[in-house]
């Protein structure tokens, strides 16, 4: 059920002393081949951490032999010195594995604006390398946790090949801009271009549609490594379907572990003119603090939802919108619909359906409510 589920991978998770808590904070995932094809997607934020810049510079070759990850520090906004730290770490890992530094991906998560303690990182490189094992995936997933309450792993079986993965991120962006990091592995035999196409198609409809608080990290990274160890070359649609299933499973675990949140809110926008319209409307509702606080309060306040929809450029007629909360259509034709007293808001899962009556497209965005615990977590944290 981990990154070491597919054949051809070893992993480790160890304690390097980056976290004050003394918990594991360094992970290493190694592809033992016979192939080393890889693809990646990164944060859309233009302010990019050093490890993101590093990964972007090497992913063009489509070859990654290993991923070194650390929690306890984001190495973002650290200037040329921070970038040098990332390059040095890649060189160190590469030397141990006897591959060029340019085949080593680096991921970091933690506080922005502080250099990493390189002595501890170096020790973590050595310790994680020494601990590598074909069953080390679960240790790796634990080592990349920050405010996550549980590690997040997945394994999806395809026809003759498997896709494994691990993720970190507490759904809600947490103190110090916690980052979403994902490493996916597969033993399928796939070239990097096809991996890239499958990964982009998968993330577009999974991770890209989880919108916890609208904030975008400087460090988000999703990597997909293929060892080819199964000897199976899946057709592209099959590969894409299995990768998408793995991403969807991890995305669900991310939102379900949203610290500070009391509700998971699924926003389904239907009968949109375009898929982009549906996504824009869903995102506007997901990011609206008045909607989010209403759900925290258990208030089926459809007026706030309509006001959020009204801020978008999507095609719709304000007099034609219907809104349901938990399947009760409390807004019909942009006005009062069924009795809001009929809406049961007691559960942890809530569903909003917005019918734009403007076409045939749809999309789903998943978010959380805005709670006292969110404010506490993101304000009381002392940096």
């Amino acid at each position: 059920m981990t990154v070491t589920g597919p054949a051809g991978f070893r992993a480790a998770g160890v304690t390097a002393g980056l976290k004050a808590s003394g918990k594991p904070d360094v992970a290493l995932v190694v592809n033992d081949g016979p192939r080393y094809d890889a693809a990646a997607v990164f944060t859309s934020n233009r302010v990019r951490a050093a490890p993101v810049q590093w990964c972007e510079s090497i992913i063009g070759r489509g070859v990654i032999s290993a991923v070194f990850l650390n929690s306890g520090g984001a190495n973002a906004c650290t200037g040329p010195g921070g970038y040098g730290d990332t390059a040095d770490t890649a060189a160190h890992v590469g030397a141990l594995l006897a591959v060029p530094a340019e085949q080593i991906a680096i991921c970091s998560t933690g506080l922005i604006g502080e250099r990493l303690p390189m002595d501890k990182i170096a020790a973590g490189v050595l310790a994680s390398h020494a601990a590598l094992s074909a069953t080390g995936g679960s240790d790796a997933a634990i080592a990349i946790m920050t405010t996550d309450s549980v590690p997040k792993n997945i394994l999806i079986q395809g026809p003759g090949f498997t896709v494994g993965g691990m993720a970190k991120g507490a759904g809600m962006l947490a103190p110090g801009l916690a980052t979403m990091l994902v490493v996916l592995t597969t033993d399928a035999e796939v070239g990097s271009a096809d991996l890239d196409a499958a990964l982009r198609a998968a993330t577009r409809v999974t991770f890209d549609r989880v919108d916890s608080d609208g904030a975008t990290s400087t460090n988000d990274t999703v990597l997909l490594l293929a060892s080819g160890a199964s000897g199976v070359r899946p057709p592209q649609p099959v590969l894409q379907a299995v990768v998408t299933k793995a991403c969807a499973g991890l995305a669900h675990q991310l939102i379900a572990d949203a610290e500070g949140a009391t509700k998971e809110i699924s926003i389904q926008v239907v009968h949109a003119a375009t898929e982009d319209d549906a996504v824009e409307v869903g995102r506007a509702v997901a990011r609206n603090n008045l909607v989010k606080t209403a759900f925290f309060g258990g208030d089926a306040n459809w007026g706030r939802i309509l006001a959020a929809v009204g801020t978008t450029r999507a095609a719709f007629d304000p007099h034609q919108i219907d809104v349901a909360i938990n399947d009760v259509w409390i807004c019909r034709g942009g006005s009062v619909g069924d009795d809001r007293a009929g809406v049961d808001m007691s559960g942890r899962e809530a569903k909003v359906t917005i019918d734009l009556h403007a076409g045939t497209e749809q999309a789903r965005i998943v978010t959380n409510d805005l709670s006292h615990a969110y404010v506490h977590e993101n304000s009381a944290y002392s940096t």
Copy 2:
């Protein structure tokens, strides 16, 4: 210091029973001429309340004789029936003043999605008309309060003419989507086209740059009425300057009364390539929940500010941005700058300066922090 400060205006504020609290909830502002030129700007939300739709339909003529305002109900998302209620109210006021309904502006604020109790509105029309006086401006300002802790009035003296005004809005959008309503009056002699130009120029750099929680109301309305009673025709730049000063004064009162907020945060973006870039960057920072909670926690977390800037399309080089909090440049060149320990975060007012090093333009956005009280106010409200 009110809408009845300029010559030619009467006003009143009375209790019609719309508010459960029994506080004043209906206001009337009447222009006694000799001229009745007017201009208005409305919310950019595409979901518009009935009174906004009504005002939009009549403002094209540029003639407004009176404004009737109610708190205790937004009359938004109320369908054709709600629009009919607004039109009926305008007709009622018009009949009492012996002018066409199409010269009566209507403003409402309160909960979305419920019809107004028209018997109480009708009684409020009669009572406010009976109470009209040349010193009634302060009563009117009190009657339009919702979660406001203080009424908001202003009077600016120009050369030979004055501009008065009142506003409601508690800075932070409050329960039921509280609305920003503003009525400005002047005794200057100005045609409606010039009033419109002055009002748009003024709101663009004042109300449009107060961004409390990023949410946009269905009811926001700013009206400017000119009686011409002073007989003075100010040059356009003079008119615009005085109207801008009045708007700036009211905007400051709105943000200073932000319920649930513990800090007023002024975000100054300098050396932007365009003014639009500066506004986009300022708004992205103002709307970022991680930035807002950091300020609530007294944490000079410049990394979150940089991450927010990184989500914009503005022209900048991530390695060239400087950020100061309360004049301490804690981020220089996109990396660590002066010691953050030197930042005093104890005051209620905080200042963020973002230097994009991309041009010569600038803009200022004013916002609040995100506090426990905000979550409480917007979730605990029972509708």
